[in-house]
Protein backbone atom coordinates (compact mmCIF):
# COMPACT_ATOMS: atom_id res chain seq x y z
CA UNK A 1 0.00 0.00 0.00
CA UNK A 2 1.38 3.39 -0.87
CA UNK A 3 0.77 6.81 0.49
CA UNK A 4 0.27 9.21 -2.28
CA UNK A 5 0.25 12.96 -2.64
CA UNK A 6 -1.44 14.81 0.16
CA UNK A 7 -2.89 11.62 1.56
CA UNK A 8 -1.38 11.57 4.97
CA UNK A 9 -3.11 8.67 6.51
CA UNK A 10 -2.66 5.01 6.06
CA UNK A 11 -4.81 2.66 8.07
CA UNK A 12 -2.90 -0.28 9.34
CA UNK A 13 -3.82 -3.56 10.84
CA UNK A 14 -1.61 -6.13 12.41
CA UNK A 15 0.14 -6.83 15.62
CA UNK A 16 -0.33 -3.43 17.23
CA UNK A 17 -2.76 -4.57 19.86
CA UNK A 18 -1.33 -8.01 20.43
CA UNK A 19 -0.54 -7.06 23.98
CA UNK A 20 -4.11 -6.11 24.92
CA UNK A 21 -6.20 -8.62 26.77
CA UNK A 22 -7.83 -11.42 24.86
CA UNK A 23 -11.30 -10.35 25.98
CA UNK A 24 -11.14 -7.03 24.18
CA UNK A 25 -12.46 -6.54 20.67
CA UNK A 26 -10.01 -4.83 18.34
CA UNK A 27 -11.42 -1.90 16.43
CA UNK A 28 -10.09 0.96 14.35
CA UNK A 29 -11.55 4.16 15.78
CA UNK A 30 -12.99 6.70 13.33
CA UNK A 31 -10.56 9.54 12.80
CA UNK A 32 -10.64 13.08 11.39
CA UNK A 33 -7.44 14.64 10.09
CA UNK A 34 -6.99 18.38 9.59
CA UNK A 35 -4.04 20.50 8.62
CA UNK A 36 -3.08 24.14 8.72
CA UNK A 37 0.20 26.01 8.31
CA UNK A 38 1.41 25.14 11.80
CA UNK A 39 0.25 21.63 12.48
CA UNK A 40 -1.56 18.47 11.54
CA UNK A 41 -4.47 17.74 13.85
CA UNK A 42 -5.70 14.18 14.35
CA UNK A 43 -9.04 13.70 16.13
CA UNK A 44 -10.16 10.21 17.18
CA UNK A 45 -13.20 8.89 19.04
CA UNK A 46 -12.07 6.73 21.95
CA UNK A 47 -15.11 6.42 24.25
CA UNK A 48 -14.42 4.83 27.61
CA UNK A 49 -10.63 5.00 27.36
CA UNK A 50 -9.05 6.56 30.47
CA UNK A 51 -5.86 8.58 30.22
CA UNK A 52 -3.69 5.84 31.66
CA UNK A 53 -4.91 3.23 29.19
CA UNK A 54 -4.04 5.39 26.22
CA UNK A 55 -0.80 5.47 24.29
CA UNK A 56 0.06 8.03 21.63
CA UNK A 57 3.52 7.90 20.12
CA UNK A 58 5.50 8.47 16.99
CA UNK A 59 7.72 5.60 16.08
CA UNK A 60 9.66 5.11 12.86
CA UNK A 61 7.74 7.83 11.05
CA UNK A 62 4.37 6.52 12.18
CA UNK A 63 1.88 7.91 14.60
CA UNK A 64 0.45 5.12 16.74
CA UNK A 65 -2.73 5.56 18.72
CA UNK A 66 -3.72 2.74 21.05
CA UNK A 67 -6.22 2.68 23.86
CA UNK A 68 -8.36 0.15 25.65
CA UNK A 69 -11.70 0.80 27.24
CA UNK A 70 -12.04 0.36 30.95
CA UNK A 71 -15.52 -0.75 31.81
CA UNK A 72 -16.92 -0.18 35.26
CA UNK A 73 -18.35 -3.66 35.15
CA UNK A 74 -17.05 -5.92 32.43
CA UNK A 75 -19.26 -8.87 31.81
CA UNK A 76 -20.41 -11.18 29.10
CA UNK A 77 -22.84 -8.52 27.87
CA UNK A 78 -20.18 -5.91 27.15
CA UNK A 79 -16.65 -6.60 26.06
CA UNK A 80 -14.17 -3.75 26.10
CA UNK A 81 -12.94 -2.34 22.81
CA UNK A 82 -9.24 -2.10 22.09
CA UNK A 83 -8.80 0.85 19.74
CA UNK A 84 -5.76 1.00 17.53
CA UNK A 85 -4.81 3.05 14.54
CA UNK A 86 -1.55 3.96 12.82
CA UNK A 87 -0.75 6.71 10.36
CA UNK A 88 2.33 7.58 8.41
CA UNK A 89 3.54 10.98 9.47
CA UNK A 90 5.26 13.21 6.89
CA UNK A 91 8.77 14.27 7.83
CA UNK A 92 7.67 17.88 7.97
CA UNK A 93 6.39 17.01 11.45
CA UNK A 94 8.63 17.60 14.45
CA UNK A 95 8.46 14.33 16.38
CA UNK A 96 9.53 16.12 19.55
CA UNK A 97 6.72 18.65 19.43
CA UNK A 98 3.66 16.45 19.64
CA UNK A 99 0.93 17.09 22.14
CA UNK A 100 -2.34 15.32 22.80
CA UNK A 101 -5.42 15.83 24.91
CA UNK A 102 -8.32 13.54 25.74
CA UNK A 103 -11.69 15.07 26.60
CA UNK A 104 -15.11 13.42 26.73
CA UNK A 105 -13.73 10.35 25.01
CA UNK A 106 -12.29 12.31 22.08
CA UNK A 107 -8.54 12.37 21.50
CA UNK A 108 -6.89 15.31 19.76
CA UNK A 109 -3.27 14.94 18.68
CA UNK A 110 -1.38 18.04 17.56
CA UNK A 111 1.54 17.27 15.28
CA UNK A 112 3.51 20.49 15.00
CA UNK A 113 5.38 21.12 11.78
CA UNK A 114 9.05 21.96 11.74
CA UNK A 115 9.80 25.64 11.37
CA UNK A 116 11.48 24.96 8.05
CA UNK A 117 8.36 23.27 6.74
CA UNK A 118 6.02 26.14 7.50
CA UNK A 119 5.07 28.32 4.58
CA UNK A 120 6.82 31.65 4.68
CA UNK A 121 5.69 34.87 3.28
CA UNK A 122 8.31 36.57 1.20
CA UNK A 123 8.29 40.29 1.18
CA UNK A 124 8.73 41.87 -2.18
CA UNK A 125 10.66 45.03 -1.84
CA UNK A 126 9.93 47.92 -4.07
CA UNK A 127 13.06 49.39 -5.45
Amino acid sequence: MQTQGSELARPQTGSLTAKTDAQAIEVAPPVDIYENNDEILVVADLPGVPNDALSVRVDGGELLIEGTQRLSEPGPAVRPLAFSRAFRVPNTVDANAISAELTHGVLRVHLAKREAAKPRRIEVKAS
Binding site: P30, D32, A44, D45, G48
Partner: protein
Protein backbone atom coordinates in the same frame (compact mmCIF):
# COMPACT_ATOMS: atom_id res chain seq x y z
CA UNK B 1 -29.86 3.85 -14.49
CA UNK B 2 -33.53 4.65 -14.04
CA UNK B 3 -34.84 4.32 -10.54
CA UNK B 4 -38.30 4.83 -9.22
CA UNK B 5 -38.75 7.97 -7.19
CA UNK B 6 -40.50 6.95 -4.01
CA UNK B 7 -43.12 9.10 -2.37
CA UNK B 8 -40.66 10.78 -0.02
CA UNK B 9 -38.06 11.29 -2.65
CA UNK B 10 -35.28 9.82 -0.55
CA UNK B 11 -34.96 6.54 -2.36
CA UNK B 12 -32.03 7.52 -4.48
CA UNK B 13 -30.34 9.23 -1.61
CA UNK B 14 -30.45 6.08 0.50
CA UNK B 15 -29.28 3.99 -2.36
CA UNK B 16 -26.26 6.22 -2.83
CA UNK B 17 -25.34 5.68 0.77
CA UNK B 18 -25.75 1.95 0.53
CA UNK B 19 -23.50 1.98 -2.51
CA UNK B 20 -20.95 3.97 -0.54
CA UNK B 21 -21.23 1.59 2.36
CA UNK B 22 -20.69 -1.46 0.24
CA UNK B 23 -17.77 0.27 -1.43
CA UNK B 24 -16.25 0.96 1.95
CA UNK B 25 -16.78 -2.63 3.03
CA UNK B 26 -14.95 -3.64 -0.11
CA UNK B 27 -12.11 -1.25 0.71
CA UNK B 28 -11.96 -2.51 4.26
CA UNK B 29 -11.61 -6.02 2.95
CA UNK B 30 -8.87 -5.01 0.55
CA UNK B 31 -6.95 -3.27 3.31
CA UNK B 32 -7.38 -6.07 5.79
CA UNK B 33 -9.65 -3.99 7.98
CA UNK B 34 -12.61 -6.20 7.23
CA UNK B 35 -12.95 -7.49 10.76
CA UNK B 36 -12.67 -4.08 12.27
CA UNK B 37 -14.60 -1.68 10.07
CA UNK B 38 -14.30 1.99 10.94
CA UNK B 39 -16.30 2.88 13.93
CA UNK B 40 -18.97 0.33 13.24
CA UNK B 41 -18.20 -1.45 16.44
CA UNK B 42 -19.38 1.33 18.64
CA UNK B 43 -21.58 3.15 16.19
CA UNK B 44 -24.39 1.09 14.85
CA UNK B 45 -26.29 2.09 11.80
CA UNK B 46 -29.92 2.77 12.55
CA UNK B 47 -32.78 4.26 10.56
CA UNK B 48 -31.81 7.75 11.65
CA UNK B 49 -28.09 7.56 11.10
CA UNK B 50 -25.45 6.45 13.53
CA UNK B 51 -26.39 5.35 17.01
CA UNK B 52 -24.05 4.66 19.91
CA UNK B 53 -23.07 1.21 21.09
CA UNK B 54 -25.52 0.51 23.84
CA UNK B 55 -26.04 -2.21 26.39
CA UNK B 56 -28.53 -3.00 29.14
CA UNK B 57 -27.62 -5.21 32.05
CA UNK B 58 -29.89 -6.55 34.76
CA UNK B 59 -28.12 -6.97 38.08
CA UNK B 60 -31.24 -8.05 39.96
CA UNK B 61 -31.71 -4.92 42.05
CA UNK B 62 -31.14 -2.50 39.21
CA UNK B 63 -30.84 -2.07 35.49
CA UNK B 64 -27.65 -0.64 34.08
CA UNK B 65 -27.64 1.06 30.72
CA UNK B 66 -24.39 2.00 29.05
CA UNK B 67 -24.05 4.10 25.90
CA UNK B 68 -20.86 5.20 24.16
CA UNK B 69 -21.22 8.84 23.25
CA UNK B 70 -17.76 10.30 22.51
CA UNK B 71 -17.67 14.08 22.33
CA UNK B 72 -21.04 14.60 23.96
CA UNK B 73 -21.38 16.65 27.12
CA UNK B 74 -24.25 16.87 29.61
CA UNK B 75 -26.00 19.51 27.60
CA UNK B 76 -26.00 17.36 24.46
CA UNK B 77 -27.84 14.54 26.19
CA UNK B 78 -31.44 14.26 27.18
CA UNK B 79 -32.59 11.33 29.25
CA UNK B 80 -36.17 10.67 30.16
CA UNK B 81 -37.16 7.88 32.48
CA UNK B 82 -40.64 6.78 33.31
CA UNK B 83 -41.64 3.75 35.30
CA UNK B 84 -40.99 1.30 32.56
CA UNK B 85 -39.61 3.24 29.66
CA UNK B 86 -36.39 5.03 28.92
CA UNK B 87 -35.52 7.52 26.19
CA UNK B 88 -32.03 8.73 25.43
CA UNK B 89 -31.50 11.54 22.96
CA UNK B 90 -28.20 12.98 21.95
CA UNK B 91 -26.61 15.07 19.29
CA UNK B 92 -23.08 15.84 18.26
CA UNK B 93 -22.27 18.22 15.48
CA UNK B 94 -19.10 17.96 13.49
CA UNK B 95 -17.19 21.05 14.30
CA UNK B 96 -14.47 21.57 11.74
CA UNK B 97 -11.68 23.54 13.34
CA UNK B 98 -11.38 26.96 11.73
CA UNK B 99 -8.57 27.63 9.31
CA UNK B 100 -7.73 23.97 8.75
CA UNK B 101 -8.03 22.00 5.57
CA UNK B 102 -9.64 18.58 5.80
CA UNK B 103 -7.66 15.44 4.95
CA UNK B 104 -10.00 12.85 6.29
CA UNK B 105 -13.34 12.87 8.02
CA UNK B 106 -14.66 9.62 9.40
CA UNK B 107 -16.19 10.68 12.69
CA UNK B 108 -19.29 12.25 11.31
CA UNK B 109 -22.12 13.70 13.22
CA UNK B 110 -24.02 11.78 15.76
CA UNK B 111 -27.70 12.22 16.30
CA UNK B 112 -29.84 9.63 17.90
CA UNK B 113 -33.00 9.08 19.86
CA UNK B 114 -33.58 5.66 21.35
CA UNK B 115 -36.51 4.68 23.35
CA UNK B 116 -37.11 1.37 25.00
CA UNK B 117 -39.46 -0.41 27.24
CA UNK B 118 -37.57 -1.58 30.29
CA UNK B 119 -37.93 -5.20 31.33
CA UNK B 120 -39.09 -4.16 34.80
CA UNK B 121 -40.57 -1.19 36.59
CA UNK B 122 -38.01 1.17 38.01
CA UNK B 123 -37.86 3.87 40.65
CA UNK B 124 -37.39 6.93 38.44
CA UNK B 125 -36.67 9.11 41.49
CA UNK B 126 -33.54 7.18 42.28
CA UNK B 127 -32.23 6.88 38.75
CA UNK B 128 -28.65 8.10 38.35
CA UNK B 129 -26.88 9.14 35.13
CA UNK B 130 -23.13 9.53 34.91
CA UNK B 131 -20.99 10.65 32.00
CA UNK B 132 -17.32 9.77 32.00
CA UNK B 133 -14.75 9.62 29.20
CA UNK B 134 -17.51 9.78 26.61
CA UNK B 135 -19.51 6.93 28.11
CA UNK B 136 -22.95 7.43 29.60
CA UNK B 137 -23.90 5.09 32.41
CA UNK B 138 -27.38 4.94 33.82
CA UNK B 139 -28.23 3.12 37.00
CA UNK B 140 -31.92 2.49 37.32
CA UNK B 141 -32.98 0.88 40.61
CA UNK B 142 -35.95 -1.40 40.30
CA UNK B 143 -39.05 -0.86 42.36
CA UNK B 144 -39.14 -3.22 45.32
CA UNK B 145 -42.01 -5.15 43.79
CA UNK B 146 -39.96 -5.80 40.65
CA UNK B 147 -36.91 -7.14 42.43
CA UNK B 148 -36.30 -10.83 42.48
CA UNK B 149 -37.36 -12.51 45.67
CA UNK B 150 -36.09 -15.69 47.14
CA UNK B 151 -38.81 -18.04 48.26
CA UNK B 152 -38.10 -20.24 51.19
CA UNK B 153 -39.23 -23.79 50.92
CA UNK B 154 -40.49 -25.02 54.23
CA UNK B 155 -40.04 -28.57 55.16
CA UNK B 156 -43.26 -29.98 56.47
Amino acid sequence: MLTRWNEFGFGDFDRHFSVLNSLRREMDRVFGDFERGYGHDYLQASGQGLAPRLSVQDTGAELRVRAEVPGLTQKDLQITVEQSSLTIRGQRKVEEPKGYSVHRQERGQLSFARSFTLPSRIDAEKAVAELKNGVLELTLPKLAEAQPRQIQVRAS
